[in-house]
Subunit: 345 residues, 2 copies
DNA sequence: AGTTGTAGTCGATACGCTTCAACGATACGT
DNA sequence: ACGTATCGTTGAAGCGTATCGACTACAACT
């Protein structure tokens, strides 16, 4: 492996000049810069990461702490991971994977070893145990998820409250007076992963404000109980029911059930899907979709972290960034027939 | 951050002694070792990764190259990623994420910068473009997947050929003369991701050997075409049809369809599921399952890589390791009624 | 003319660790 | 008693980079 010394020799300059060419921290004449760059090219020189980290006290690596709990859908996590890695690269950083099963020790380890200059924590819980540790970690940390007490922390997440609100506004706008939210996993309701609660909170507030009566049913992939819910909603809504669900299976079933009962989604009934949007969901023609935009959340998380990392001042107050959901009307909501994507403000 | 010099001062020894205590590369007396360990504990000393890498020329990091292509189910990839990260930690290594979209440049970069001492490549294709680059990379590399020409390479994967064979053996053993394989994504058949072909190859060979007539249908989540397939199989098999599928949706549908036609899986018919086994699949009581064991593959990949990394000799011939599928009979196959897990030899 | 400033380069040092050669001390064999 | 291994420890020499201070040359002001 060639070193910067080899490059210097070949270019006929000192080693420090090579360094300044690479970092651009001192002015270098056009002439010598070209000579050095040619030498770098010719030797395919790449700066040794360890040496660079040692001397500069920056590793150019961000640590990504991933959850291992079976609570969460692996595919969704992977979407975050992939986008975070790709975004980090765009800013000349790499990503080190840290699994949750190492717990707080893992955080202290990677920071203590100076393996990375900053951390992104996924799947942050309302009363996350990692928070006290993070507070005195000494490197910038970005949370994906919103804990109860986020003062002084840097948090980012999809705006689930706004999503809930939007769902109800969609309903009300289409003339519904009655809606059913169906399909959040019961385990998650009221759990330490508070995004479901944030969603329900937003939905309930909007329902009260707009005079929509809202019912909430836990998840079930059982067709009969879904049908029962449909029936009761039809009865209560005088034949104009509206449904919201994060569950792909439920979303697939609903239009069929409605058709069988002589109702047509987009005319007499509304079906709204919420969540990360896999391909399967895009196939649901009769469903209005609220995309939670995980990739946008990931991207902003990286950008926020990098901003914190380059800030000389130790971070002041903390940050709270909520990414608004992206609404796509696709025949799903009564009264809307144009399948054009449309961003929520 | 305390350094090893601080530890040495506190323990009253030289800095090199601290190093030898950490690495164990020289004998140290019980007495001073305890003193040093106490000092380490007291200062919560952690060796600086960059300095260590620089001096020892080992980063204790393995690079994991993940595919970004939408071809592959993100959840499956994540399972590999999580297990690889966890296994690496068990052997005191960390994992650096490298996305495929950097291409060959990415491989050369992380190795050139000496960010990692070895690589695991996922999603290896039959004629993978990365192979020529890997051959002269200078660090050990383990492939997950089997390219056409694997000479001199270290490959590991689930034994899909054996899985195909086992499926047909299950059928034949249960007295079926007729089977349908249904549900591989058509895009993947004959594609550069050759595991589907390996599976079909094994299945066809076994079918010929055992006198089973085998049909192959591409994936479809459309209920009608599945029903048609069922009908034709019933007709051809004199009322004893057998089915194999990697698709959860298909596997959920099949028992229902069979029941409607008066056939009971486990008695008159057989349903066999193949693939990585998500929770949803475990709920399929009437299905025999061939688990492809992604986590075992991942684990062995890490162990193989670490073995290669510690071997002083540059790796000789290469390795080809196939992980046999794990068969679980669960009322799925006609003639078997005991739901006991059972390993394939 | 002298002073000040700036662009461009170099030499030397520090970063925190591993590792080698070398040393004293202790045990062993004859 | 002597040489000869072995154990336990040390000091010093790197590993490859970033960065600081210093130096030169030359332009731009007084």
């Amino acid at each position: 492996m060639p070193t910067s010394k080899d490059v210097a020799a070949l270019a006929g300059v000192s080693q420090s000049t090579v360094s300044y060419v690479m970092t651009g921290k001192r002015p270098i004449s056009e002439k010598t810069r070209l000579r050095v760059e040619a030498a770098i090219e010719q030797l395919t020189y790449r700066p040794n990461a360890g040496a660079r980290a040692l001397a500069s006290r920056k590793s150019q690596v961000i640590g990504l702490v991933i959850p291992i709990t079976p609570e969460v859908h692996l595919g969704s996590i992977m979407e975050f991971v992939a986008v975070i890695a790709a975004t980090a690269r765009r800013f000349d950083h790499d990503v080190l994977l840290v699994t949750d099963q190492e717990g707080n020790q893992g955080l202290e380890r990677v920071v203590g070893q100076q393996l990375c200059d900053g951390l992104i924590l996924m799947q942050v819980q309302a009363d996350d145990e990692r928070i006290p540790v993070v507070r005195k970690l000494g490197v910038p940390v970005v949370f994906i998820g919103i804990p109860n007490d986020s003062t002084g922390l840097n948090c980012i997440d999809a705006d689930f409250a706004r999503a809930g609100e939007l769902c109800v506004e969609e309903m009300a706008g289409a003339g519904h007076t009655n809606g059913v939210i169906i399909g959040w996993r019961p385990r998650l309701v009221g759990s330490r992963l508070n995004y479901v609660d944030r969603f329900l909170g937003g939905a309930n507030a909007a329902a009260e404000r707009l005079g929509v009566s809202l019912e909430h049913l836990p998840a079930t992939s059982d067709r009969r109980s879904i049908e029962a819910a449909v029936d009761s909603c039809i009865a209560a809504s005088q034949g104009m029911p509206a449904f919201v669900s994060p569950d792909v299976t439920v979303l697939e079933l609903l239009p069929r059930i409605l058709h069988e009962k002589g109702l047509e989604p987009g005319r007499d009934a509304s079906v709204i899907g919420v969540g990360p949007v896999p391909d399967t969901m895009l196939a649901l023609e009769e469903t209005t979709i609220l995309d939670i935009q995980p990739s946008l959340v990931s991207q902003h998380a990286v950008e926020l972290l990098l901003r914190l990392m380059t800030a000389d001042h130790p971070d002041a107050g903390g940050t709270l960034e909520l990414i608004p959901p992206l609404v796509t009307h696709r025949h799903g909501t009564a009264g809307h027939s144009v399948p054009a994507p449309q961003s929520a403000s």
